[in-house]
């Protein structure tokens, strides 16, 4: 990393520490005992992974967004639970069951993501419209498959271990989340794919004339979102034993909130994995603090909505000026024309 400090990163670190301190003081230390920290760490991955998906889609620019992540995760869970239970018994062969469940869930996720990518890249559907349609489609297929009721995933030992087990005191799901963030972060930063993705998000027209295979990048990006949704499906199944088509109704908002808080540019071309990570942990800390304060779910919804708007505002009015005195004052009040205006 360049020696210059990223104000967003500094901000996220300080907000994490601040919430942790506040909560610890308010709860008289109960907040930072190892049990609570473990349970918080076990809850971050689902939302964090969905947020990475949203970030990937946003980075591709041209209004890119993935609204179908939660729906795809639910579909993967339902489909995998039904398919694998039909062939394998969770009690007789727990390891085979777990491996098959994870494989099918990720495969369904990949297929769903690639479908999104194909529709956007080859048919030219707007990402909003496409993922809105597939969100309904995925949810619908999950409803049809499960008949609208929750599906029990067999209680195979290794599968349950994923969300509930610990490695050296750290929840396994959290380790998975860290590994995946690291992998994707490295891919984005060092591989040609990652660099091309961000360049395409910055200026699709220039990327096209530079000879980037735009459709392939798009399909890969949305495919990655899909695989992430598949991983989320495994975590959900492991944590709740049951999977259902309407699980996690407010996940979409929170995933978007995490990405916005992480400073990912909504118009594409910029996003840092470390910021997503810290932003996810900050939200989890805040959410647990609400739990400690006995706040209702509705208050939490209210707070999430408010936070999202506040962070949009801070993006607009430039966070940097709060931390570092910059000599050049941004004067771009006129909107830049969007990168791609090839409507015909």
């Amino acid at each position: 990393m360049k020696p210059k400090t990223d104000p967003q990163l500094a901000f996220l670190i300080s907000i994490n520490v601040l919430i942790l301190l506040c909560a610890a003081i308010l709860s008289r230390g109960a907040f930072i005992d190892s049990y609570n920290l473990q349970s918080m760490a076990a809850q971050v991955p689902e939302l964090g992974l969905l947020a990475i998906g949203v970030m990937l889609a946003m980075s591709s620019g041209n209004g890119g967004i993935d609204l179908s992540g939660t729906a795809l995760a639910n579909l993967s869970g339902v489909a995998s639970a039904l398919l694998v239970s039909a062939f394998l018994s969770a009690d007789a062969d727990p390891w085979a069951f777990t491996v098959a469940f994870v494989a099918v869930a990720m495969l369904v996720g990949l297929l769903g993501g690639v479908l999104n990518g194909l529709l956007i890249a080859h048919l030219g559907l707007t990402p909003i419209l496409c993922t809105l349609g597939t969100q309904m489609l995925f949810t619908g297929v999950a409803v049809v498959l499960s008949g609208g009721v929750s599906v029990r995933v067999g209680s195979a030992g290794p599968l349950m271990e994923i969300a509930n087990g610990l490695v050296c005191g750290v929840p396994i799901s959290f380790v998975i989340f860290c590994v995946i963030s690291l992998l994707i972060g490295m891919t984005l930063k060092f591989s040609p794919f990652g660099i091309q993705l961000f360049l395409m998000g910055t200026n699709a027209k220039a990327a096209r004339y530079s000879g980037f295979a735009l459709s392939r990048i798009l399909i890969r990006t949305y495919g990655m979102c899909g695989v992430l949704a598949g991983v989320v499906a495994v975590l959900i199944a492991s944590r709740n034993v049951n999977v259902k088509w309407d699980y996690g109704q407010s996940y979409l908002l929170i995933a978007i909130l995490i990405t916005v808080m992480a400073g990912v540019k909504t118009e594409g071309g910029y996003g840092r994995m470390i910021c997503i990570f810290l932003s996810a942990t900050a939200l989890q800390l805040l959410s647990s603090m609400f739990n400690f304060l006995d706040a209702s779910n509705f208050i939490r919804d209210f707070a999430w909505g408010m936070l999202l708007l506040i962070f949009l505002a801070t993006m607009r009015y430039d966070l940097k000026s709060l931390f570092i005195r910059t000599t050049s004052i941004p004067t771009s009040s006129v909107q830049r024309p969007p990168a791609s205006t090839n409507h015909s």
Binding site: G63, I65, L119, L123, G124, L125, T126, I128, L129, C130, L132, G133, T134, Q135, M136, L137, F138, T139, G140, V141, V143, V144, G147, G148, Q249, S250, L252, L253, I256, L257, V260, T266, E267, S296, F298, I299, R300, D301, F302, A303, W304, G305, M306, L308, L309, L312, A313, M315, R316, V334, Q335, P337, P338, T341, H343, S344
Partner: protein
């Protein structure tokens, strides 16, 4: 706008049936929606004779009113290149608060006042949306996801979570006013509620605003291309504020009709149905990137979605399939409307 061009360019060539159909579809994408409606009705009608009854039509009209009012508002925002996900939360907050106020302080309130209060409550919340979307310069979808949670969280944490079951007499009576009513051969009572007229009036008003006023021109111009409209001197701020306020007002009215029609005010209602409404508007031929669409098309889209949600079950299609079908139709319509532009 593009219809004049395509006519003059393609005109004079061979007029095969295919090319004529294609051309009609180019200019009027809602014809495709109409085709789907007719095909669906013929299908359901042939499977189940009960469909071909006046009472079914009355039921459809009743179900279309609330979603239709929502759709008109969403269409206006979509035409200007934005998107709104908070209108159901606006409707819920406005209808529940106004109902609660009327019940506890002014049970004798005339209906006009009740509707005015609901509309202005909705308009106020819409105004907040408009100011935020313009001021934050962020995608309207992300802003309105935020306000959706804000409004709904506010409603459920500070206003109330209890159903209001006993409405004032006037509101109760309003939901029962019939435009037509008769007793069918099977002995069931069928009636066309008078509040359908509100949708008719709102459609005419929306059509008039979009096609006969300067702000309508500005809405389509901004939806077509924001930078160009800005350079042409259109007041983007005024348009943003207008469209969101207008949609908020329509949502408030829709929420109040929902209360009168169901004879109870449930604060948990409505939120969650926004995706159906957006589906209806998109199926009606409005492009999600803005600049296109018509009021009749939007209404056809509403009819199509209401048909799928209410009538398919009469043909023996299980209700679990509704989402799959609406989702598939969105993708299909989106792809079709795109292909016609690509040629």
């Amino acid at each position: 706008m593009s219809c004049a061009n395509s006519l003059s360019v393609d005109g004079g060539g061979e007029f095969t049936f295919r090319s004529r159909v294609k051309k009609r579809l180019d200019n009027r994408p809602e014809l495709f929606t109409l085709f789907l409606i007719v095909a669906l009705s013929v299908f359901v009608g042939s499977v189940n004779r009960d469909f071909l009854q006046v009472s079914t039509f009355f039921d459809l009209a009743r179900s279309s009113t609330v979603i239709g009012l929502f759709a008109l508002g969403v269409f206006v925002i979509l035409a200007a290149g934005g998107i709104d996900l908070s209108f159901t939360a606006i409707a819920a907050l406005s209808m529940y608060s106004v109902t609660k106020l009327v019940v506890s302080y002014f049970p004798e309130a005339p209906m006009l006042l009740v509707f005015l209060a609901a509309a202005s409550g909705g308009a106020l919340l819409g105004l907040i949306n408009g100011l935020l979307v313009h001021g934050l310069k962020a995608p309207s979808m992300i802003v309105t996801i935020g306000t959706q949670y804000l409004f709904r969280g506010f409603l459920l944490s500070f206003v109330g979570t209890v159903w209001v079951l006993s409405l004032p007499d006037k509101m109760e009576a309003f939901g029962k006013i019939a435009l037509f009513s008769f007793v069918s051969k099977q002995g069931t009572h069928a009636m066309l509620p008078a509040f359908v007229l509100i949708l008719v009036f709102a459609s005419l008003l929306t059509w008039w605003i979009l096609n006969r006023t300067l702000i309508g021109k500005a809405i389509f111009a901004i939806g077509g291309s924001l930078p160009i409209a800005e350079r042409l001197g259109y007041n983007v701020r005024a348009v943003h504020i207008f469209i969101f306020t207008y949609t908020g007002a329509l949502a408030g009215i829709a929420g109040m009709i929902h209360v009168c029609s169901n004879r109870l005010a449930n604060p948990f209602d409505l939120v969650g149905s926004e995706i159906d409404v957006i589906a209806a508007v998109v199926l009606g031929g409005a492009r999600i990137t803005g600049g296109t669409g018509t009021v009749p098309g939007t209404l056809l889209g509403v009819v199509l979605v209401v048909l799928i949600n209410n009538v398919l079950i009469m043909a023996g299609v299980p209700s679990t399939w509704q989402r799959v079908i609406v989702g598939a139709f969105i993708l299909l319509a989106g792809a079709l409307f795109l292909l016609r532009r690509k040629r």
